[in-house]
Symmetry: C2
């Protein structure tokens, strides 16, 4: 049995949950997993499946210190430091080089830090299924969540033919970015579309083989990084990392791979993409108000309906006679916007940047 590693991808620009999230405190830091940070819950979810010393966190240098503070159980040498924030393909390249420099035969789980997934037993069973499918040393496995509604906020994976003996797995036909309403409804009607979980399982040699077939530059960058890390005290230079094309691993490799399969999963899953998704974190009350309250904060609602409230610190948010709003209150900032504007917070963050308010980013 070769070693099993997990690489948690923990980057993120911190714009979609502003002002709760910031450049140095992206979404995975927020206490959205039953009051605990999402990334902490992600690590806990792997316990019993992956040995603690084989759990890695990939992040950028700026966030490394605060991550280390947040995760005291994570060994310092298990942080994979991306020299700059690029897309997921460069992150996977560096992760593959890091794990591959320790065990060229290793199996890797690659997963986002900031999703909500329950229950853990079902999640681990799903991963074991993927590990089994990847055991041929060539197959790339991803996981798709059976849609429960026509979501426009998630990407989709289109399933092709069933994998022979794959226990429900099928070949990946295509990845689809977030669809519009009509397209999402069509996806759900067709039945062969799954929500793209962004979780992968493969062996080091399988992803290296697939990169070589799908994207020569990415493969070359991975080879160069591996060479650097195989040297004693070796490290990856920024210039080497920058050779990896700024693409997503879905489109750069998965979609082009000859052996990419998707495992349908029925775990309760949400990528918590923006404030309105907090309804997945905390069910609405009778008036439709969702309140996610951290650190002793509280919410008082009077004649208020369908609002999303997020608060931190010993602080009370009172919503009085308002509906359909997002209200966020943290130590140094308060945000008020309509729910349907909350998916566009990037525009506000850009406005802050343009106005020299880097102190708030």
């Amino acid at each position: 049995m070769h070693s099993l590693h997990a690489v948690i991808m923990a980057g993120g620009s911190g714009t979609r949950f502003w002002p709760a999230s910031r450049a140095l405190r992206p979404k995975q830091f927020l206490p959205l997993a039953a009051g605990r940070p999402l990334i902490e819950a992600t690590m806990t979810r792997l316990e019993g499946l992956v040995a603690p010393e084989h759990v890695w966190v990939a992040t950028n240098k700026k966030q490394a210190r605060s991550l280390a503070r947040l995760l005291p159980n994570l060994r310092h040498d298990r942080l994979i430091l991306e020299p700059e924030a690029r897309d997921t393909a460069p992150c996977v390249a560096l992760a593959t080089a890091t794990v591959g420099s320790r065990d060229a035969e290793a199996t890797m789980i690659v997963l986002p830090a900031d999703h909500l997934i329950e229950p853990t037993a079902e999640f681990q069973a799903m991963l074991r299924h993927g590990i089994e499918l990847a055991s041929d040393g060539e197959t790339l496995v991803t996981f798709g969540i059976k849609p429960t509604f026509a979501a426009t906020g998630f990407g989709y994976v289109e399933c092709g033919a069933a994998v022979a003996g794959g226990k429900g797995a099928c070949h990946v036909a295509r990845f689809r970015e977030k669809p519009d309403r009509a397209t999402a409804e069509q996806f759900v009607r067709q039945g062969n579309f799954l929500w793209n979980s962004g979780i992968f399982v493969w062996q080091v040699k399988a992803i290296r083989r697939a990169m070589a077939l799908a994207d020569k530059d990415l493969a070359a960058a991975t080879d160069a990084m591996l060479l650097s890390l195989q040297k004693p005290e070796g490290r990856v230079k920024k210039s080497t990392f920058a050779q990896a094309p700024k693409k997503s691993i879905d489109f750069a490799v998965m979609e082009k791979a000859d052996k990419a399969v998707v495992v349908p999963a029925t775990v309760r899953w949400d990528d918590v993409g923006s404030f309105p998704a907090l309804g997945s974190v905390q069910p609405p009350d009778a008036a439709g108000n969702v309140a996610v309250l951290a650190e002793g904060s509280s919410h008082i609602a009077l004649d208020a309906r369908d609002n999303i409230v997020y608060a931190e610190g010993p602080r009370t948010v009172a919503t009085f006679g308002v509906s359909g709003l997002v209200v966020v209150a943290v130590g140094d900032a308060v945000l008020v916007c309509p729910r349907d504007k909350a998916n566009d917070l990037k525009a506000l963050v850009e406005h802050l940047r343009a106005n020299g308010r880097d102190d708030l980013l």
Copy 2:
């Protein structure tokens, strides 16, 4: 020349500006006078007219300590402590007894702590006019502001016949509580209605005489308080204070007095009755947003119109895509409500009380 005293009435329950105002931090504490507390500006506005040692502040025992902290220049023995919060008639009774025990021939200015008035020179000229009218030792003087619009948020004074030789002053016909829209428009059309400023000038003997004619209980309570205070180390018992009927001085005495006159004034005046009145404190920006920002707070507006923002502390309020809201952010609480609900904050405060949130009152 007999002595001239000023008594600043500084009670207030702190509901209409919640959460900025609280029971122990009513409106006059808020930094609404060019960044300074309203009561501090009220004291400053009397400088040069009233000797500092003749400026008194009437308040209740609960607020006394925080008032003393806010006004280091106010001598401790110039605080008039009301044994309980009653209406303005009991406050005037105690003030009259306090000043009268020092100088039975004194002239008193009685004025609210929490109004915005500009310019000071015109305000003092207005008071001097009143002092002159009161110099007969019998006339009670109040001041009415010439309406600039059909306000429904202010009380009105109806002017009767002109005072002979009164330089524009007229006899008080009636006091009118806050009118509805149609009545307010009629008042403005008629032209003989002025906004009730709640400011008075009279001599001690004049108000005592008027009380004796208009309200025997109030007069008796004042006499009893005066008797208490004329004793060495004398103080007014709660039971004595409670003998004064819980009425406003307007209706208990002024309206019934045979010699009550009103001086029309053109000072810029606002009683800053609720958050929407903050437009008088800080002019709206081009998008109609009013932001009153204390202690280094800031406001960021994007696609936001006609909002009222009040913030304290090193804190940023971001309004994004919203309009017609009141957003208040202070250390331990945030309020979001529509502008037209802001006049009804008492309901929210009662809701907090009913839910055991006395910590927020």
